[in-house]
């Protein structure tokens, strides 16, 4: 158990006694954002997650785009929260060191039907409060993206779309929440809820009592809901498989290349990442297993076929990673955020494919809903700002920072050569407010082992550092 001046981070043993004012179930990007928002209040707050780390569910495996919300369903809750979230997270990222790259997106039309859809999309963007989108001709598209495959007919230029680091975002929220006093309990799965004057959560680590309850359990939000007697939506995991190409492919693409949405959903995009590589995906497959984050031969073949059309040269590059994430689809076209004031309970369900962008706006909205349920929201104060280690390739990383290395030579000792991660960064992550629960967690904090060799060179060394810190 690590105790800071703020809240506690616990990973085992019995939970603290007494009653929390609010407990948030689920420490994904949405749950941590809510916990951070609540941490402004002089209350006793808990954040619990079944996993050994924050952001270990859908939040770690998405396409990492900070959306403008130009293509949302106008008038929906999602449209509003994505728009607000884009603004809030952009500002928060600048303040806390979350890497964001405002590359802009091009929705590329490859056939007449797609071309014909562009004016409608431009108009929809305006209805969503986004006015900067404009249609550009094939020649301009080609000039701006010389490596695009043949057959481009035009594009919708959406300059506001950006890349963001999903790992740092979740971690920044969690870090700030814990430092401001929130208790984070990991390896803590909620199995049952008994509700009366207070809620008693039966968890894998024993009972936890709380006055108000927020359900931000992602794919499992419907199951938590049922424990409280609600059955107004069901989550269908919609899998998205992705291929990440080598950093040497980064020069091939300058924008986020979005497909024109068709009848079959949003489609496959090609996008750089803040880490400096290039991503191709995702697929969209409805499953019934909420744990099936595996990739499939068919999925990868489909992605390669689509990718070859969009950016033929990309397929010649080495593949660094393959992964899959599960969207929490509900069959409805909007978020399923439901307040149950009498129960002092809020469900944050159906946060499908825009939750990263909308996270801060969702959090603010949820705290308002809790207030409707009687949560005292007076005495708010701004939590101390956080400054996160920079994982973004477009910004100064420690291995290139002469001043930093002069002060502490450990920032000059590169351990993971592909990603240029230094011993100093690994040391810091292992000693941080929310330390990693596994080598994978360490990867999400530092990029160690995330590169092209996947551990051929540094895997053993990184594991040794992780295990040494664990004692």
């Amino acid at each position: 158990m690590t105790t800071t001046t703020g809240g506690a981070v616990t990973t085992g043993g019995a939970l603290p006694g007494g009653e929390y004012d609010v407990t948030v179930v689920g420490a994904g990007v949405v749950g941590t954002a809510i916990a951070r928002e609540l941490a402004r209040l002089p209350l006793r707050i808990a954040l619990v997650d079944a996993s050994d780390d924050v952001g270990d569910g859908t939040s770690k495996a998405n396409t990492a785009i900070l959306h403008t919300g130009f293509d949302a369903v106008p008038g929906s809750l999602e449209s509003r929260l994505v728009r607000e979230g884009h603004r809030l997270l952009s500002a928060y990222a600048a303040e806390s060191g979350i890497p964001v790259e405002p590359l802009g997106a091009l929705l590329v039309a490859w056939d007449e039907e797609q071309l014909a859809a562009l004016p409608g999309l431009a108009e929809k963007a305006v209805r969503n409060g986004y006015r900067a989108a404009r249609i550009i001709a094939a020649e301009e598209v080609r000039a701006r993206e010389p490596e695009l495959g043949p057959g481009v007919l035009g594009a919708l230029d959406v300059p506001g779309e950006s890349l963001v680091c999903p790992w740092t975002t979740t971690l920044a929220y969690a870090t700030q929440a814990v430092r401001a006093g929130v208790d984070l309990h990991l390896n803590c799965r909620v199995r049952k809820v008994v509700s009366g004057e207070t809620h008693t959560l039966a968890t894998t680590r024993g009972p936890l009592r709380t006055r108000h309850l927020v359900n931000a359990a992602g794919l499992y939000a419907d199951e938590i809901d049922r424990l409280l007697g609600h059955a107004d939506f069901a989550v269908t995991p919609r899998r998205g498989q992705l291929i990440v190409f080598d950093e040497l492919a980064r020069t091939l693409v300058r924008h986020i290349l979005l497909p024109v949405p068709g009848a079959l959903g949003k489609g496959v995009l090609v996008s750089p990442t803040v880490y400096g590589n290039v991503m191709l995906g995702p697929t969209a497959e409805d499953l019934d297993d909420k744990t099936d984050t595996g990739s499939t031969a068919e999925g990868l073949a489909l992605l390669r076929e689509k990718g070859r059309r969009i950016l033929p040269a990309l397929l010649e590059e080495e593949v660094t990673a393959v992964y899959a994430g599960l969207r929490a689809a509900t069959g409805d076209d909007d978020y399923a955020i439901r307040a149950h004031p009498a129960q002092r309970y809020v469900t944050v369900g159906g946060i499908r494919s825009t939750g990263l962008t909308a996270s801060m706006a969702i959090a603010a909205h949820v705290v308002e809903l809790l207030a409707d349920g009687g949560l005292p929201v007076t005495g708010a104060r701004e939590p101390a700002p956080v400054r996160m280690p920079n994982l973004g390739e477009a910004f100064l990383r420690p291995y290139r920072d002469a001043e930093l290395i002069a002060k502490d030579p450990e920032y000059g000792r590169i351990v993971c050569h592909c990603e240029r991660v230094t011993r100093g960064e690994i040391r810091d992550a292992l000693a941080s407010t929310v330390p990693p629960g596994s080598p994978d967690g360490l990867r999400r904090r530092t990029r160690a082992r995330a590169g092209r060799c996947q551990g051929f060179h540094c895997g053993a060394a990184v594991r040794a550092l992780f295990e040494e810190a664990r004692g």
């Binding site: 595996g294 990739s295 499939t296 593949v319 000059g412 590169i414």
Partner: protein, 398 residues
């Protein structure tokens, strides 16, 4: 702020190739010869190959670490400057490298730069093996380091993927670490079995299974039969790719077959003053081959230092399937060194041809079996028939 320095020769990578070259150059009085090594210890891959089989005919059967030590000592004794814990991270000019070490940032300019950065095995992701992403999935490089350098725990039941000689080393290392090797799996139709381990040929790894930790490997035989091998560890071996990042970032032309820098028989790349040697050129060969390349490059590096002009790049040397690659792959000068040629399929007594602009230059039958895991050494004699101002020279099976 980074410091600026100048040296005569800067070698990137202190493996067998870089060390052999540095030793030779220092001995020949090439001036300030500096070798950069990003690991804390010099020696390259042999440092973690705790088995015999290293060395040439004079010193046969050294273990990897003994071989590495010998190479390090030879380079230092000759007067080369070895700097470990220093990574070359990029270029600040055509012959200027940027480096990071705990002493800070530097920009080192050299009269000749040699890339001796080695090669690695493609990991599971690069091979597009589908399935979950559990712990327990390794390459031989990681396995050997885990066991021999860090004494880490490996799982109990392991599957080894691949049929190159390195698969045998993986099996041995796994056994040394106390793991049972359940099977060696290869897509090839034929392969040498390791005594005591079932060999599954013509078999692909269809999927990895398991949450948290690997629980099994689903395999599919060419004839359609499928199965699952229960295991907690899988080692992907072979399938080499040169560590070509610096070469690419420096705008050095790569060969499509080897994926390493294009070089001529004197190991000159497309960028004047930049050479490349060892596995960085072509993926894994024996350490002695890499060292011999380093050795052989010395003459051309010395010539460069004494002001010899950088020759115009001659015609590229390309291969046709089933041949995979040939190195060197530019025909600037006719070296006395053999060319290394790889085939993707086993070939019995192949007839090799070389043609340029539709003209057959050479044709010869080799009374050997060409295996996909070993290079055939082509004598270079025929290359004097190449027209230096002609088109690409294509090697094929006639």
């Amino acid at each position: 702020m980074s410091r600026d320095r100048t040296v005569d020769v800067l070698v990137v990578g202190a493996g067998p190739a870089g060390l052999a070259l540095a030793a030779r150059l220092a001995r020949a009085g090439a001036g300030h010869v500096e070798v950069l090594e990003r690991e804390q210890d010099a020696g390259g891959v042999p440092r973690h190959c705790h088995h015999g089989g290293f060395g040439g005919p004079v010193h046969p059967w050294l273990t990897g670490p003994a071989y590495a030590l010998r190479a390090v000592r030879a380079a230092t004794a000759a007067g080369a400057k070895l700097r470990t814990g220093v990574s070359a991270t990029g270029w600040a000019g055509p012959l200027t490298l940027e480096t990071t070490s705990s002493a800070g940032l530097e920009r080192i300019t050299a009269r000749a730069v040699v890339l001796a950065t080695g090669a690695r095995e493609r990991p599971r992701s690069a091979r597009l093996v589908p399935g979950s992403r559990p712990a327990g999935v390794l390459t031989t490089g990681e396995l050997q380091q885990s066991v021999h350098l860090y004494g880490q725990h490996i799982g109990r039941r392991a599957v080894v993927v691949g049929a190159e000689p390195v698969a045998r080393h993986a099996v041995r290392t796994l056994r040394r670490a106390g793991a049972e090797v359940v099977a060696v799996v290869t897509e090839r139709a034929r392969a040498a079995a390791v005594p005591g381990v079932p060999l599954l040929t013509a078999t692909t790894v269809a999927e990895l299974r398991g949450r948290g930790r690997l629980s099994g490997v689903a395999v599919r035989h060419e004839d359609g039969r499928c199965g699952v091998l229960a295991c907690d560890t899988v080692v992907f071996t072979g399938d080499w790719i040169p560590d070509h990042e610096l070469a690419r970032r420096g705008g050095i032309a790569l060969d499509p077959g080897t994926r390493g820098p294009c070089v001529d028989a004197s190991f000159r790349t497309s960028v004047p003053g930049v050479f490349a040697v060892g596995n960085a050129l072509h993926g894994v060969e024996r350490a002695a081959t890499a060292a011999a390349e380093g050795d052989a490059a010395a003459a051309a590096v010395l010539a460069r230092l004494s002001g010899a002009p950088w020759p115009e790049p001659g015609p590229p040397l390309l291969v046709r399937a089933p041949l995979l690659w040939v190195a060197p792959n530019r025909l600037t000068d006719v070296g006395g060194r053999p060319l290394l040629l790889r085939s993707g399929e086993p070939l019995t007594a192949p007839v090799l041809t070389a043609a340029q602009d539709g003209l057959l230059l050479w044709r010869r039958r080799f009374p050997v079996r060409m295996s996909p895991s070993r290079s055939l050494r082509l004598p270079p004699g025929w290359t004097d028939r190449v027209d230096p101002s002609g088109g690409p020279v294509v090697l094929g099976i006639g």
